[in-house]
Every structure is written in C-alpha cells, then in structure tokens.
C-alpha cells in the first residue's frame, strides 16, 4: 500500500554475487587502531567493491533489529507493511504490559527473574522455537524415506518464524486480535511451553524415530 510517492523503490532484487551488503548502523565506522588484520582486510574490500542499495526499512537508529524486520516481512500480506509493523509494535507493547504487571504482582524475591524487555523475550522465544534437526525426503530403491538432516541457520530461523505465524493465524478464536495471540504464544515459547515448542519437539521425535535412515544421506 504505497501511499506517498516519496517511497520510490530504488533497490534491485538481483545483484551480482560480489556486491556487498550495506551496514546502516552508526557504529560501522570504527577507528583503524581497534581493528584486527582480518577486519582491516574487510574494510579495504568495502572501499573497492560495489555495495547493494539499502532497503527503505533498514534504518541507522538503535531500534533497528534485523530479526524483528524479518519477522515483520514474513507476517506481511499483500505488501501491507504498515499493518504488519503495527501488529508487531502492538505485540511488543502487550508483552511489555503483561511482564510489568507480572513484575509488580510478584514478591520481591522473584522479581529479578522476570524479563521485562520485549525484545529479549522475542529473541529468546524464537531461539526456543528453532528446531535443531530437520527431516528431508530421500528416494532410495523406489521408496522415499524421511531422513534426519542438519539444518542451516537460515532454515531454522525461517521454520521457527513460520510456525509462530501459522499457529497464531489458525488456532485462535475469531475475536482475538493477532497481536494478542502472538504475545501469548511468544510468552509461552519464552517459558518453553505452548504449541510451537510442542511442534518443534514433535519434529525432533520424528527425527529420533527415523534415526536408522540417517545413512541414506549423501551430503
């Protein structure tokens, strides 16, 4: 929903592999004395090679979080980034409210264990939802088997986010808002409970059941 004309999309979607990613953070410029030799090489490379255009959603502010941006993009439907970002902010606010309420209601001894920062809650919840081993379909002798396989970091992060979003879209009451359901699921995942963590455990159990087929892999 591009309302204003000032948001022109300058960035291409396909770049040559030697183009480097932009680093919009303010701390990108570090004085030369504090760099190790590999980092010095990296800086040299940055002066010579071309760099991709920055996305309009990447800011140099301290609140820019790549993980949250990725989650917002995954939640977005039909290009409605404004709505997706609104839902995300509402979710973080709800998490903060719930945690602060819990903090004030609990006795002084337990207060230190309660995490009030919604960003850390989000990161920890996502970590708890990430599967460690996945299943891949391998054809051998006419039959296809589900083989336990190690997953790349990107794939694990994608699966965790996808499970969270599908869980919040499907298994909720028609009248609960997305941000409410999301905050509930995130707080449950932070405590290692809830449906998403259960789904992760189911995947691990299937992988464990099929561990005999692990040698069917050739990579």
């Amino acid at each position: 929903m591009c309302v204003s004309l000032s948001l022109c999309l300058v960035r291409w979607s396909r770049y040559n592999p030697y183009y480097l990613d932009p680093d919009p953070s303010k701390d990108a410029r570090v004085p030369e004395s504090e760099l190790s030799p590999e980092e010095k090489e990296l800086q040299e490379l940055k002066t010579v090679s071309p760099i991709k255009a920055a996305l309009s959603s990447d800011t140099s502010s301290a609140f820019n979080d790549p993980l949250i941006s990725k989650f917002i993009n995954m939640m977005m439907q039909d290009g409605n980034k404004i709505l997706a970002r609104g839902i995300m902010t509402q979710t973080l606010e709800t998490i903060k409210r719930k945690q602060v309420e819990k903090y004030h209601k609990s006795p002084a001894a337990k207060r230190e264990e309660i995490e009030c920062n919604p960003y850390t809650v989000f990161h920890q919840a996502l970590e708890n939802c990430k599967p460690i081993i996945g299943l891949a379909s391998v054809q051998k002798g006419g039959k296809s088997y589900q083989v336990p396989v190690p997953l790349t970091d990107n794939r694990r992060r994608f699966l965790a986010m996808k499970w969270l979003i599908t869980e919040c879209r499907d298994n909720k009451h028609r009248r609960t808002h997305m941000y409410e359901k999301l905050s509930q699921e995130l707080l449950a995942a932070f405590a290692n409970e809830g449906n998403v963590v259960k789904r992760k455990h189911d995947l691990h159990k299937m992988a464990e059941a099929n561990r005999a087929y692990a040698h069917y892999r050739w990579w």
Binding site: P148, P150, E208, W219
Partner: protein, 115 residues
C-alpha cells in the same frame, strides 16, 4: 603451429584418395562451446555420530534442550566444519569446474564461422 598439423591429419582421414575414408562425419568436426558436466560424486552422511549422541541424550532427558546443550553445540560445530569442508573441496583439485569452464566459453567462444 599445431593447428595446421591437426587440419592435415583430419584432411587425410576424410580423403577418398587412399580407399574409403576413415571418418564419415554427419556434423562438422569442430568443438562445441560447452563442456560436459561431471558426474556428482556421492559422499557419505556427515556428522552421524554427533547426531546419534544428541538423539541418545534426547531420549534420556525427554527432549530437553537445556540439559543436552553440550551435545547440541558439538553437533553445530561438526555441521559447520562439514559445510566449510564441502565448500572448499569443490573448487580445488587443479581443474576448472565444468560450470566455470562453460561460463568462460560463453564469454570467449571458439569462432566457427567468419564474422
């Protein structure tokens, strides 16, 4: 140079002067601007021992990841090492990969006819 030597040999093989010609080519005797792709060598499954250790730990502790954190980290290091090894092994060995050769030939092809 050696180019003309090869052309003379080919001419001899095609000529009808000394009985039947040895070669009866259907397509022109020229190299294609492409290299055949190599058969993928089937490796073995990597990190199976670490995976089995991790699964044993899971079975004992009811799939609790905080208790099995050591095996998890060992598994991750093994996977990373295997990935780096696979990436490094592909390009070396002295020869050009068929994909790289094909890209070069597309940019600098053999001229089959005069432009």
């Amino acid at each position: 140079m050696s180019g003309s030597v090869i052309q003379e040999k080919v001419a001899k093989l095609l000529s009808r002067q000394s009985g039947k010609p040895v070669l009866r080519p259907i397509k022109p005797l020229a190299l294609k601007n492409e290299v055949a792709s190599r058969k993928l060598k089937k490796g073995e499954a990597t990190c199976v021992t670490e995976m089995s250790l991790l699964m044993a730990c899971w079975k004992q502790n009811d799939f609790n990841n905080t208790v099995c954190s050591k095996e998890v980290s060992v598994f991750y290091t093994c996977v990373e090492k295997a990935q780096n090894k696979a990436k490094a092994k592909q390009g070396t060995q002295g020869r050009l990969l068929p994909k790289e050769a094909n890209t070069l030939l597309k940019r600098f092809p053999n001229q089959s006819s005069e432009i």
